[in-house]
């Protein structure tokens, strides 16, 4: 089976001269759940944006094996990126509105998406009235409402409390299996990456590059018991080791949550 998406020696240099990505190779199969982890500034967001077609690669190639119609994408940005002048409902409606669907025609769809992220009650609120976590959930609802085939998520749960995070983790996994999404998931949190994904791509900074791929060979549905199993810990330790090696080998790397995780 050929991969749905293949990055071949992809580099990205910003106009400022920052080498955000340097020779990244990555293949993602259709229906796969892949996480990207790495220290702050290693180019995770950059990689995700390139996959979404936002911005050009500087060198290398990015190939899809299917035409654009068969890879409807949805993006959950690191900052919630809500329109402050629009209510929650109107924010979630946006992708459909851009396709020419009126609010009345897709009301049900929108409320379904809002219920999924437990925001049915906040439908008529404005973003400034929401907490950081609620904003993020609106942003997730806005991605769900398009019924995408490819879901790109950039640290979607970073601002959430542990309870909401694990509930939404479960929701994403359920939806992923139901809808047969392909998910590319960026996170700072190694435990989350291991719990969710089939494969964890470990990245390092300066220049941004892939240093290892760890396959999490555990069947779904994954239970809470998996989180506390020794296998789970083993995977986490493996990823931490890769991150530590990359940092020891590379130049000075800015302080990140992974560093504190290693220190702790």
């Amino acid at each position: 089976m050929t991969a749905l998406l293949r990055l071949d020696q992809v580099s990205k240099v910003y106009n400022s001269g920052t080498v955000a990505l340097d020779g990244v190779n990555l293949a993602v199969d259709a229906g796969e759940f892949v996480s990207l982890v790495g220290p702050s500034g290693c180019g995770k967001s950059t990689a995700l944006r390139l996959v979404a077609g936002l911005g050009e690669v500087s060198s290398g190639q990015m190939q899809w094996s299917v035409p654009p119609e068969q890879r409807q994408m949805a993006f959950v940005f690191q900052d919630a990126a809500l329109m402050p002048w629009a209510t929650v409902v109107n924010n979630v409606h946006l992708p459909l509105k851009l396709k020419g669907q009126s609010l009345r025609a897709c009301r049900q769809q929108i409320y379904q998406a809002l219920d999924r992220v437990a925001l049915g009650d906040a439908a008529s609120a404005y973003p400034r009235q929401l907490s950081g976590g609620m904003k993020m959930r609106v942003s997730i609802a806005r991605a769900l409402v398009t019924q995408p085939q490819v879901l790109l998520m950039d640290e979607p749960f970073g601002a959430l409390d542990e309870m909401t995070r694990s509930r939404l983790n479960q929701d994403v996994l359920d939806l992923w299996q139901q809808q047969q999404w392909t998910v590319l998931f960026v996170t700072h949190n190694i435990y989350e990456a291991v719990y969710l994904s089939q494969r964890v791509v470990v990245m390092a900074a300066q220049p941004g590059r892939v240093v290892a791929e760890v396959t999490i060979d555990v069947p779904y549905p994954r239970t809470e018991a998996f989180r506390t199993s020794s296998l789970f810990n083993q995977y986490c330790r493996e990823i931490l080791t890769h991150l530590a090696q990359a940092e020891a080998g590379g130049g000075p790397v800015p302080m990140s949550s992974e560093e504190s995780a290693i220190a702790g």
Partner: protein
């Protein structure tokens, strides 16, 4: 407000309690507002200044043609109102026409600028040149060119003064839409007009309204300056003509009265535009929201 008589049936009586007592009623809020430092502080300063002015005029025994006292000015204002007010209305007409034209043209030009970098590059310098040309210098020319229609000439002068803040503010606003939101629009295949209508224009609204507030005052100044240059011209004479004539005739109290009317109009325009801005942005923009932490 209708206050119903207490003899009505009890179901009515319940719902018609006098609103003055409840904290949410408009009377209570008006009272609170009048007693707030926002109103009291400038009021006290104003009264002090007037008292000082009056005192200075009396102690130094200044003649009214040098500096009239505030009471004399107030008396003149009341006496001359029937002659001054129609003039003020003419100036107001010029101001409103110029302001409307500036708003419309400023908005359209700003939108044009953001549709193509080339248009912006080629035209923006000329907008700046128009802005920096001293209006006093070119007003005579414009009045001569449009000598058949003084009103139009004055409007053009005021428009030149008023339109730049709207263009530059709105252009800035249209270009400052959130980066991630722009990415989102691109990802979801929004076309140029959708991006303009649903993203750029709402993002630009606070900037545009800020531009309006500046331009409102400038339109009035532009109108007054142009009237000054136009001089006596015709029967339809604005407030600047009255100021000019009063000063020629050494009717200084009358001049002060006309000045006060002009400034009051300027303040009114500013207040109205501020209220409009607060109203339009009340749901989402920091400038219009009371901070709650």
């Amino acid at each position: 407000m209708v206050i119903k008589s207490p003899k009505r049936p009890s179901t009515q009586a319940k719902s018609t309690v006098l609103p003055a007592a409840t904290p949410q009623s408009w009377r209570w809020r008006l009272g609170q507002w009048l007693l707030s430092p926002d109103v009291l502080a400038p009021l006290v300063v104003g009264i002090l200044a007037l008292a000082l002015w009056d005192l200075a005029v009396r102690l130094l025994e200044l003649p009214p043609y040098l500096l009239p006292g505030p009471i004399l000015v107030a008396q003149t204002l009341v006496r001359e109102w029937p002659r001054l007010f129609p003039s003020l209305l003419i100036t107001l007409q010029i101001t409103l026409a110029a302001f409307g034209a500036a708003t419309l043209s400023g908005l359209l030009i700003a939108i044009l600028f953001t549709q193509s970098k080339w248009i912006e590059r080629s035209l923006f310098p000329y907008a700046v040149i128009l802005q920096t040309t001293p209006i006093v210098a070119i007003a005579p020319l414009i009045i001569i060119w449009l000598r058949n229609d003084t009103f139009a000439a004055l409007v053009v002068c005021a428009w030149i003064v008023a339109f730049f803040p709207i263009v530059s503010n709105t252009t800035l606003g249209l270009n400052s839409a959130d980066h991630s939101l722009r990415n989102l629009f691109e990802l979801y295949g929004a076309n140029r007009w959708q991006t303009l209508w649903y993203l750029r224009l709402p993002s630009a609204l606070p900037y545009f309204l800020g531009g309006l507030r500046i331009s409102g005052g400038l339109a009035l100044i532009g109108a007054v300056v142009a009237e000054f240059v136009a001089g006596t011209g015709g029967t339809r004479s604005g407030i600047a003509y009255q100021i000019l004539m009063s000063s020629y005739n050494l009717q200084i109290p009358r001049m002060f009265a006309a000045l006060i009317m002009t400034t009051t109009l300027g303040v009114l325009i500013f207040v109205i535009l501020t209220l409009l801005s607060d109203f339009l942005l009340r749901h989402w923009h920091e400038s219009a929201i009371r901070r709650e932490n």
